[in-house]
Each structure stands twice: as C-alpha cells, then as structure tokens.
Symmetry: D2
Subunit: 306 residues, 4 copies
C-alpha cells in the first residue's frame, strides 16, 4: 500500500519545487549549492591521499540488465598491423546510459513530470537529436565537492536493506549521529542501502519490481540541508513505489522539482573500508560525466579522495 | 626525413624501459610515481575552487573522425510512457575508445612493440574478449595528482604548432621557465600544441597524415622528471613519424617502455584562461576512466581544479 | 535552376497521389500491383537458373559514408572456447538503415511530406520506439515479382550519368526500345544511372551535393505502367533537386504519394553481364527485408534469378 | 547420457567429411549441390504465386536472448528537418549475428573443430577484422533452390518436440512418407521441431540448456540425399548434446565436415498453413544474406514462394 497519495505527493512536489529558486533561466539546479568556497573547502578533506572508485565494473546480462553494455575488439595487438612497427589493441563500446545496474548520472532532462522538465522546460526540448536544454553537457566542468556517505545498513545493524524497504529522514539523521558527520550545503550525498552487496552475495534479481531506496519525504531533509547531488547504490527510488500513481517519486522530486542530479547504482563497498579505517565519512569527490552533447546522462566513475 | 633511425630509436626504447623498474609483476607503470603524499600535496593546489574540463564534446564525422561516436535516443519525455506518472528521456551511446578526435585515455595494453606489451606482457593477453592484463580496469580508482600544463604555442609566440611540427625537450624547458612552473615526480603533464584551437578555427583535417606532437627524445625529459601521465590536445605523436619504421614512437615509448598512460585529444582552451587569470599553471587533476573490464582505454573528461 | 516550381510539384504530387487508390486503410501501396498471378508469371522468367546479387558489400567510411556500418568480432575460432569441443567465429553488426552508399530498402514510413506519411497516416505514428504503422514489417513476406533493368548509360552511349544529371520518361522509353523490354503492371523496376560504376572507378564523392537520379516527372511513367517497386544504383533522386523547395522529390512522389517502396544504392554491374549474355533484361526478383518491427527500412540483398 | 561417444562421433565426422569432395580450394561446400538446372526446376515449384516469410521478427530480451538486438531512431518524421520540404524517419540497427532467437544463417567460417574450419581452412583465417576465407560473402548471390519442409511434430502427432528431444533419420523418413515429398539433391531442407510454437505459447526459456534438434546421425541422411542447406526453427542441435565432449555436433558435422550452411531459429508457422492448404510441402526458396564482408553469418528473412 502506498505511503503517499497522489495529492499528498503533489503538495510535496510543489513545496520542494518552490524552494529551488535560482531564476527562470537556471539550468544548474541544486549544483548552485556548490560554490567555489565550498569546492576549496572540500579539497581540504584530502588527508591520506587515497583515491577510491564509487562505480562498479560494467555488468553482463541478467534479470536487472536485459540490454547489457557491450565492448567489442576492433584490433588485437597479436595480429599484424597496418601501422609501421607497432600493433594496437583497440575496442568499441555500446551501452545504454540508464538502466538498473551500471553506474551512471542522470542529467536534468531525464525526467518529465506533469508535462515539464526541471524549471518549466518543455519536454519538447528533447528530440531524436537529443536534449537542446538540460543535457549532461551542463555539467561538463565536472561536479566537485565534499562527499558524505551515509551507510544505512550500518546504522540499522543489517547487511543490507531488503528490496522494497526505504530510507527515511530519521534514518539519515540516525546515520549522521552514528557516523559523526553532518550533511551540509553543497555536499554530494551518498546513501548506501546495501543494494550492491546483496547483488554480489545473492546474485542479481528483477530490481524493476523490488528495490530499496529513499522514502520520498526524505527529500525534504536533502532540501533543508541544501544537498547538491544525491547518489545511491540503488537508484534512490524504491520499488514498488511508495506513491500512488507515480513510479519514480524520488527521481521526480530530485530531478524535476529540485534540479538535483542523481547518481544511480554506485558502488560503495570499496569506499567503506577506507572510511572505517580513517574514521571519517566525508571526502573530496569528483564526478566527471563524459561530454555527450544532447545526452540524458553519462556513465561515470566518481572518485572519492580521502 | 626521419630524425631517428630505427636502431637509434631502439637504443632510446631500451634506455627508457630500463628506467621503469617496478618489478616483473608491475601493472601500474608510471602511476607508481603517484604516491599518497603526492596526492595529498596536489589537493593543496586547490585555491580558487574552480573546476574546468580538459575534454572536448564528442565530435561528428570528419576527415579526422571516419567512424564517429553516435548517441541515439531510446525514449523521449514528450512521448507517452509505460511508467506511471512520469516520462523519461533516455539514450544510448556507441563509440570507439580510440581515434583522432574524441578525448580518451590509452590503457597500458594499447600498444605492442617488438612483440610485447608493457613489462613483457604477451600481446596474447588481449583476445576478442578483451585484455586479461593491463586493461583500463587497472586504473579503476582514478588517476589523481598535480597537473601541470605546458603551453608550447605560448612560449613560441604562435597560435599553434603546425601539423608535422614537434615539441622538444628544449621546448618543455622553455615553457617551464616562461610559465614559472617545474614538472616534478608524480605530475600529470599536459602538453598543449594548439591542435584543438587550429581545428576549431580552420576546421578538421586528416590528422593521420599530419599532426603536431612530441619529439620522441623529449620522453627522456619526462622520464627524468618522473612524470606519471602524459596528455596532449593532439595524441602526443607527430605525423609523419620522426622515427624510421615506427609510426607512433611516443606511444611506444610512453606506454610500452615507460608504462605511462597517455591521454589523447584533450582540450586545454578552457583551462588556459583560468591559468592565465590565476597566474598559475598547476592544479589538482582527476582522471576517472570508466570501469570497462578488459578495455583498452576509456573516453574521459579529466577535471582540473584550481 | 530547378525544373519544377513548388506549385507545379504539388500538382504532380496530388495527381500521383490520386492514382494510388486502394482505400483509406491500405498500407501496401504500389505493392498492390503485385498479384499472385504476376508472381507466378515472374517465376517463369527463370530459364538459366542463374542467381545474381543486386547489392554491394557494406562500404567503409568515405565522403558518401560519414557514419559507416561496423562489424565487430565477438569470438575468434582460433581462441579457446567455453563450449565443449568446438570454437566459434561470431560477430556483431551496427549500421544505419539509410545513408548514401549501402544497399537498402525504404519503408513507407520513411518520408513525410506536408505533414503526412503515405495515405494520410500521421507522422506521429513514428516515435522513438519506431513506426507503429507503415514499418518495414508490412513487407515481411518479401517482395517478389518480375524485375526489369533499364540501363540508361547504355542507351545514352555513356559509361554513367554524371552527378546532377537526370533520367526522363523519354530515357526510360528509349531504354525499353533499345533493350526490347516493356515495363508492365507489378514489375520491380530497376533504373541504372551508373552511380556505382563511377564510384568504383573514380572513388566516392559527396553525393549529398551531386548525384544522378530520376526526373520527378518520370514518376508519371512509373504510375502509368503500374510499377510496384523502384530501385536504383543511386537513390533515385538527383542532387541538387530539380524541384524548388523540395529536396527529395522522387522520394516524396514514390513513397508518400504512390506508396512505392524505394531501393537505394543497389548494384547492377554483376547483373548486366548476365543480362547481356542472355539477351534479356527481365528476371525473377526476390527482395527479403529483415524483420525489424517498427523499422523504417532494412539493409537488403535483392536476388535476381535468370 | 550421450548417445554417441567422442570416438564414434569422430568416425561419423570423418565419414561425412570424406563425402564432401569438391577439391582443396572449394569454399562453397554443399552449395555445390545446387546447379543451374536445379534452380530452374525449383522455379517451377511456383504455382500459386504466394510468398511467405521463414523468419521471425527480432525478439526482445529474454532467457534465450541475453544480448538482444536494438533498433534506435535517428530522426522522427514529426520533427523539423534540415532537409527542404520533407522530413524523414530513420533508424539504426545493432545486433549480434548469431544467438538463440533471431533468424540467421551461419557462414562456413562459423565453426572450428579439431583446429580446422571447413575443408582444412585454418581458424587463423578469422581475425578481429573478420574472416578472410569462408565468410558469408561467399554466398553473396543468394541461395536459391527447392525448399522442402519436414514437419516432425505433425508426423509424431504432437504440438512440438519437447526440449532435449531429437529428430532421427527415421523421423525424417516418416515425415517424407506422411507428407508425400522426397528430399533430393540440391534441396534446401527445413526441419520443424516446433521450437517457435512452444516459445510463443509457453514463453521463452533458457534454450542453451534445453533444446530440441537433430540427432547427429541424421546428418548421414542429409548427406545421402545431397541436401544443400539445413534450416530449423531451433538451431538444429539438441541441448544437452547427444555427443560426449562435443557441444554442437550438428553444427560441427554440417558446417565443418559437410560445408553446409545452417539456418537457425527460423519460423515455419506461417508457412505450414500455406503448405496444408496447397497440399504440398515443397516450394521455391530464396535466402538472401546481407553483404557483410568478413562476416560469420547474417540475419536473414528466407522467402518461400508457392
């Protein structure tokens, strides 16, 4: 049974949208929370000089990956070459930008709700040629700031949240308290639900039907804290949805209402051991989307630097 | 007329290979020059909190791009959706990893010379399934360090180096002096030849025939300085080659002899104005290759943070 | 200077559209001219038992092929296999359906003119998911009939028509007379302009600017003769266009007005020698589009059987 | 438990290979059984003038299709166009040539057994650039002949053969008797096991584990009859294999020993009703592989003409 009626959700949507006030021509959304001063401060998070990936390797076909990415060889270095004195290994990549397993970032054109993209931009801005507005190119200089990881299974004392379970604002607050970190303005917030650990241990399942994520009302917490970006090891939305008649309410609230880029299907298991060893859950983070003109997002490998 | 005979080149090759001594099982090559201490020091380069892309947008077909990348839409947000209450923009990407225009990084499996990849690894390690050794996955935690940009056209007082021209060790030293910066151990060295500015102003040309790059002997300078990574707005190799019988001598020296990742066809024109304004030519740099198991490289968007 | 004003073209368009009367729900268009009786009669054209391709091999990149098809290997038979006792060669294909060099067929959804596809179908029938009407699946049982080749360079006494030149109804009549063949109801008409021979001998050029084809008024000749399908070794349209303000008038007339499938960039040079040897210019022809649901056309290899 | 030991299989392999005697340079294999006279005779099979597809539409992802083909739109006709006066629908196709659901033909380079392709050709003839010998281009003029459909479920009085079941030479003889047709030299033999009907009715399953096909010894029957091509609605091989240590024995016997092109995952359900109505099980058949230089096969839509 959904937690939120469609009407209640729309009230929430309007409230969050009303807080995203950077002018009618704004295309950066919650990235506006990242200021030069905050970037410089985030750099001071680097103490150990350790770098860690927040992405997972490309996955092969499975119940959560019906159209897997493919990498094909174009030339093998063991073969004769047309080039003098040298032989190359070269390959080619074909992949969907979105999906339910490979780590990626959603651009602000990714979600239309009530006939509108972020900040009133018409969905017609996206044609077969791509997005003329709100494409991933709007983040071409990268997204750099202080990353904070909130590890919900850790604070709940479980290995992972079961599919269908959700993270509330209270969970976020409890994780902050347990981890002794406070999410603040311009932060890149990473919420771990344990999705990937479960996948590694039990194997993939049909996540379109059953997936842990955030409760839509938890987005108010992110708005209050002026979070710049949200990433998760799931896609932040639960399945089934907690909202009547709206399948991806967190996507709608984050991207369309708040102008907040989402990072889906990240991998935090490498990062956790570094955080635990350091006794710290914040770090400099650099997200470098590919420069895909008109693109609705990008595969990414966010790098945490402790 | 080539500057270097094949025999002289092999002497150079052996000398540089002999300096890359990290053990027979090493797979990181010149990345070994990047230590945690150097990463932490590089973070202190961040002062302004400004971030800048070092990549160019995906290019369309042209004389330097006979097999262009393609981005196709999978769903438009203006169209009815099968998902309740929301409509998505989604797309798909097909691209060659290497080539002569899109910004990318070469993994250490990319080049075979004299029947060997870096550090004696057999070219047979690369099959139709990809590279079982020396793939781009070896850099999955990102490449982070102090970036230094040496702007050769600036020190020479020209807009760009003409195709076929080359950068010598003396050019690098002159640029260091003029820019008041010194390349040191673990640095990510970016050498600008003006390739992209020329392309933007005069249009693309057949760069396989005619291209500015580094003189192969300049690689000794990089070895002495213990550079970790080399990037250029061309592919670092001149065309025609300056070496008799070897088409890509800088690729061979950097990747196969020195174990040095190359970044090809970067874009420094955005960065230059930041550097000039700041009066500094060094900055924190984060390179985040995609996690492509078996891959020979990756498209990248390196981010400089000043 | 165009031969036809926009207004004159519209008169021609309406006249040809008016002759295509198979009811408001028809989706087969000129294929209706092919009756079982005519298929059976076409089979009697087979006398020698010789089969000939009317397609060219996939082309590589060139001025007429800015986004070339690619075929990549997935497994090599010389490599160890996960399959017991056997090793496979396998590959993968990526290609645009249309373009200016690879042999293909255009489905009836391919062209919209004055806001309409063939027979008043809305262009909105084609979305990012493909064509819900008039897709190539409408020809899934193949197109089989009597093929007739009219060789215009032959009757004109030239090697090929120069780019920009056009074939008139008089040319078609002259070729019929010279070749002693008469195009009739349900025939698959192939008009050779010599495009591919010129390409083979002089190399590719930018055909988007300069291309031999049919004069738009020649389509009246095809309508009178009740031709079922038109194929050419160019794309049947001249460049520049002979019609003011309409870039592909033959495509518009054939596909949108007449409901006639077009076959573009076929290859007749193999066929000619067979026809000359046999002293006949008609033959059984089988066109077998791939079964691509929603597709706007298909790569094809039409087979002539003499 | 396998029916055939590895040693017995090798005896069978050698015997069938010994019967394929068209000289050391032959690359056509069993296509040699198709003579011009037989093509001409096959044309006389056309009586009704009806054409029928033997292919299925491209399938989407499923347990038998882990890497599905994709068709993406490049332009929609409802969108503004850069072309004067007209707007196009255009798309792009990406697909694996082989696999377990889409109808395709296997070229003679597809299978290596005991370190050899057909007729002693080295597997090294296939590199990352494709097959330099035995590619699908060897069939570029199409494969045309008399097709004969043997419907095994019909003669057995079942809807379909259950996965794992196999067709014996006795089954083939029984079907011939029941259908009053005799397979002869140069025929294109189609053996229906009911795979596709089962898939349509029960949904897809993991056919790599469990699949109906031919018993390897039935290939002797095909050799005696001098069959030119074998097609099935499965891939002709059972799963699990009936041969100890050889996963695809029919592929090995047909392609490598006999030089016989295989057509996998065809669709006969449309054809059956035509055959039943006509009371005949033979027909003219045209197979038109795409012209894919170096290709290991091709998607196909074989057309039967009754």
């Amino acid at each position: 049974m959904p937690d939120l009626s469609g009407a209640d959700f729309d009230v929430l949507y309007q409230r969050l949208r009303g807080q995203a006030q950077w002018g009618t021509t704004d295309r950066r959304g919650a990235l506006n929370h990242i200021t030069p001063g905050r970037v410089a401060a985030a750099a001071s998070e680097v103490r150990l000089g350790r770098t860690v990936t927040l992405a997972a390797p490309l996955a092969s076909s499975g119940p959560d990956n019906p159209e897997p990415a493919a990498r094909h060889m174009k030339h093998l270095p063991s073969e004769p070459s047309e080039v003098a004195g040298v032989s190359f290994a070269a390959d080619q990549l074909t992949m969907n930008i979105h999906g339910d397993v490979d780590s990626h970032i959603d651009a602000l054109c990714h979600v239309s709700y009530h006939g509108s993209l972020y900040n009133g931009v018409s969905p017609d801005a996206v044609t077969s040629q791509g997005a003329s507005e709100l494409s991933i190119e709007d983040a071409h200089d990268g997204i750099v700031g202080r990353g904070v990881l909130l590890d919900i299974p850790r604070v709940r004392g479980v290995q992972w949240l079961e599919p269908g379970d959700h993270v509330t604002a209270a969970d976020l607050a409890a994780a902050e308290a347990a981890q002794q970190v406070r999410v603040g303005p311009g932060d890149l917030l990473f919420v771990r639900v344990g999705h990937r650990l479960r996948r590694n241990q039990l194997g993939p399942w049909d996540v379109a039907r059953s997936r842990a994520g955030l409760h839509p009302q938890a987005m108010e917490y992110l708005a209050e804290r002026q979070v710049a970006v949200l990433g998760s090891d799931s896609n932040s939305d639960t399945a089934p949805s907690l909202v009547e008649g709206v399948a991806f309410p967190v996507h709608v609230l984050a991207i369309t209402a708040m102008g907040m880029y989402l990072l889906d299907y990240l991998q935090f298991d490498d990062l956790i051991s570094h955080c635990e060893a350091a006794g710290r859950w914040s770090f400099l983070t650099v997200i470098a989307p590919l420069r895909l003109p008109g693109g609705t997002g990008s595969p990414v490998n966010p790098i945490a630097i402790l």
